[in-house]
Amino acid sequence: MAESERPADAERRSTVGQRFWRELATGNAMVTLLSVVLALVIGAFLIMVSDPRVQDAASYFFSRPGDTFSAAWQSVSSAYSALFQGSLINFREYSIGRALRPFAETLAYATPLIAAGLAVALPFRAGLFNIGAEGQIVLGAIFAGYIGFAIDLPVVVHVALAVTAGLVGGAIWAGIAGVLKARTGAHEVIVTIMLNNIARFLIVYVLATSAFQRPGRADPISPFVHESAELPRFFATSRLHAGFVLAILAAAFVWWLLERGTLGFRLRAVGHNPNAATTAGMSVTNTYVAVFLIAGALAGLAGASLALGTERHLTPGISGGLGFDAITVALLGRANPWGTIAAGILFGALRAGGVTMQSRTGTPIDIVLVVQALIVLFIAAPPLVRAIFRIRVRAAEPVATAAKGW
């Protein structure tokens, strides 16, 4: 039996997504910024207490408290300055190119995060949760990578075809979730989570087949993609590649779709009020499928940029949890394409800087993960942030709602 389009059902199907999106949208930029600051402050505290030198100084805190404070300051400032230098500008280098290498590295990390972040952000706007970016990235990488190393084509054509294959791979994987949701009403969160697991083992399996396994290797690893299929790198010193431009173009496309496209109009209408959308002749189920196809293609772009740009071969861990960070990025970007770019770059910077921080000061890179997690926590709990910083809730809002009833 076809999935019912009765308004009551449509209502039930999307209230959680709808409510969450509304919550997310009503937060302001200030809260986002404060969340990041607060997370860094707590991160600083963790750096302090985990540093052995600070622990030593603290053991004689009551005789010479100054030692503890200076050790703590030393520890935090060196860690965060390493984080900064590893992600933005390295002042120790003399040529501009080399000094900016860390920033290029940040953008390289940011590339798949932006693309996959968009894959989460777009469904948010239609009241849907896409938790499956991880699996969609993996499928995108498999498709793009296979075209990249298995066939020979001229330079531009090859890379274009390989990227397109990546988009298709991601779209197919997400499309499964979209169709199941539309046809049977299966909850997209459950379906996409399950598809993540399937994708995780699927790549292990395909890498063990003769079609994918690199000749002469026993471990699951694919051959390198042909040079003609590579996304070209901009600098010899950095892994930053043309995929970054594609991610920015993808963000511009998502913006256009949401603000100017007829599909975007339909998608937002369905996200905000599926009943009214149905009554106005829009098909809620078709919209769900379309949203998932596009989202999957965006995640597939992330997969293609990994397979053809950053890694240039396939391994079972090619995505490495990027698809889950993408959820964070979309949240932090408030499901807005430009916000997603900014959030992607911030997370890319934390990743790139974290590596430098660990190698230079010995501060564990896990601190960066803690900071990321804290950011999400604060974004997802804006009232907490408001309470901490005593931002007054505008009195007019709840009142207006209350007054409507009378």
Binding site: P7, R266, H272, N273, A276, A277, G281, V399, A400
Partner: protein
């Protein structure tokens, strides 16, 4: 019991819902509280019933100052309330519902149902309510459910009874029964506050009328005041109670419905073999008490219902099994029953809502891209033409007042060439000004040759607009009668009485609710004779 409200003020942020309202209810009087939707009647009563805290003012019971922080306090002071939407548990019996919240027990926590039954029987017999304590509430007609609510208040020793829009769900005949009950309660010394926006009824029952407008008491009136006087007090300007319309020049049938049957998701037959047609240039109104299949009928025509059999043709083209989109594109305009749920996307701007079902067609779109400039131009034009009061065309539609929200929906649906206009409860919850406006636009549409199908539970609206009236009862069409048909006849038909029989009965027993002036004399005669 004497009840007095002094200077009650209630604000919701910048909105003053009640502004220093004074109201005195004398013992044993029926006090009509008359006001438009949104005038603040319900807020005032919620303050009185302890549901809302007043910002200012005091409540006096028999000259004793009282504060109610919950309905329990109000009940303890002898105030009972019958809400517009009944607060009954459908699967419980009458006795169980009556004891709910004030359960009597016997021994270690055993419910004393017998005591509750006895109470129900006692009250029921005393006032001639004819309510069986063991009947399950969901099987009772709406009028009887209302009596259960009244019994609930009475067994809690209510001496002031607040009835919030009690006639909204009743037919004229049921309203008459309610009036009779109110008179008996009055005779027994109970005071009654009768909240309504229906002029005819308030004149028929009330001893005194207080008129509220925009949160303020604008005056008191005697029930002898004319409807026109009351209406202008209520609205604040002279109002014409009759919609100007010429005789319909009906043409060929546009919409033909034949043997339409709808089964809902609980597998109940909600529309049962209904046939009718609507001709171009006429208004067919579907009358009936809420929930008799009217909503489902319209949804079936629009393609919003699933299990539909029979035939619906628009100028010969079958609409059943067509998508909503195709139906709209065939030239059908649709004003849904609940504008907030089905008519508008509240978070969308006025401009976006004005193209909600046109967004992907020229001139608003070319290919897959929309043209924001054209959308905005359209919005400015419609806002002007339909007098939509919005801060700007970029204001979210959800923040507009009910009347303006409805104007957005109406403007959208009337902004393209229509063959058929379907409007369900087009003026529910609107103020008189907006009602006039919407009615006028519908008639203009009719006069342009569009076939119009109206569904309304308000007999006022049905009588004002209809050229012909289809009455529905339990999913079936009771009959199709002329638009000028007496409301008593319609009321009987709404209870399932066939048209001929209804006409005969109505001629013999005109109701007080519909004919206050004539029947008042009638009644006196009866009493003097008795």
């Amino acid at each position: 019991m004497k009840l007095e409200l002094r200077g009650i003020t209630k604000r919701f942020g910048p909105v003053v819902a009640n502004d220093a309202i004074d109201l005195t209810i004398e013992p044993g009087e029926i006090h009509g509280l008359l006001g438009e939707n949104g005038a603040g009647k319900t807020t005032l009563m919620n303050v009185l019933y302890g549901l809302l805290d007043p910002d200012d003012g005091e409540i006096l019971v028999d000259d004793q100052k009282m504060t109610f922080s919950s309905p329990n306090d109000a009940m303890a002071a002898g105030i009972g309330m019958v809400h517009q939407h009944f607060m009954l548990v459908p699967v419980f019996t009458v006795a169980e519902n009556v004891m709910l919240g004030a359960e009597q027990t016997r021994g270690p926590g055993l419910l004393d149902l017998d005591a509750a039954r006895a109470q129900v029987r006692e009250v029921s017999e005393h006032y001639g309510f004819d309510v069986d304590p063991d009947a399950v509430v969901e099987n009772l007609p709406v009028g009887v459910q209302q009596r259960v609510e009244i019994i609930k208040a009475l067994v809690r020793h209510a001496r002031v009874l607040i009835l919030d829009e009690p006639t909204a769900v009743l037919t004229p005949q049921e309203t008459d029964e309610l009036i009779e009950i109110m008179r008996q309660l009055k005779a027994a010394g109970t005071s009654i506050v009768f909240i309504t926006h229906k002029l005819r009824e308030v004149r028929a029952i009330a001893d005194r009328i207080t008129v509220i407008r925009l949160g303020r008491v604008v005056g008191e009136a005697e029930p002898t005041a004319t409807e026109t006087e009351l209406a202008s007090m209520m609205v604040g300007r002279p109002v014409s109670l009759v919609v100007d319309k010429s005789k319909a020049e009906a043409g060929d049938p546009v919409l033909t419905v034949n043997g339409l049957t709808v089964v809902d998701h609980r597998e109940q037959v909600v529309v049962d073999d209904v046939s009718f047609d609507v001709r171009s240039g006429e208004i067919l109104a579907v009358a009936g008490v809420q929930g008799n299949g009217q909503t489902e009928l319209v949804e079936a025509i629009m393609g919003l219902q699933e299990h539909v059999t029979g035939s619906v043709t628009l100028e010969g083209v079958e609409l059943i099994d067509r998508s909503v989109r195709d139906t709209l594109r065939a030239g059908v305009g649709f004003i849904p029953e609940d504008r907030k749920v089905d008519g508008l996307v509240g978070d969308f701007t006025v401009a976006e809502n004005l193209v909600l079902d046109l967004y992907d067609r020229p001139p608003f779109a070319s290919g897959i891209g929309m043209k924001p400039g054209v959308v905005a131009d359209n919005a400015r034009k419609r806002v002007e033409e339909f007098d939509i009061r919005a801060g700007s065309i970029d204001t979210p539609a959800g923040t507009l007042s009910g009347g303006n929200q409805q104007k957005v929906v109406v403007a959208r649906e009337l902004s393209r060439p229509l063959r058929l206009l379907i409007a369900t409860q087009p003026t529910r919850g609107l103020d008189v000004g907006s009602i006039e406006f919407v009615h006028r636009r519908i008639i203009v549409q009719r006069d342009q040759g569009t076939a119009v199908l109206i569904v309304s539970t308000e007999l006022d609206e049905v009588s004002a607009l209809a050229d012909r009236i289809l009455v529905m009862y339990r999913g079936r069409a009771v009959g199709i009668v002329d638009g000028e048909t007496d409301r008593d006849v319609l009321g009987l038909m709404m209870a399932g009485v066939p048209a001929d029989e209804a006409a005969r009965q109505a001629a013999e027993h005109p109701t007080i609710a519909e004919h206050p002036d004539e029947v008042v004399g009638h009644q006196d005669e009866g009493e003097s004779r008795g």
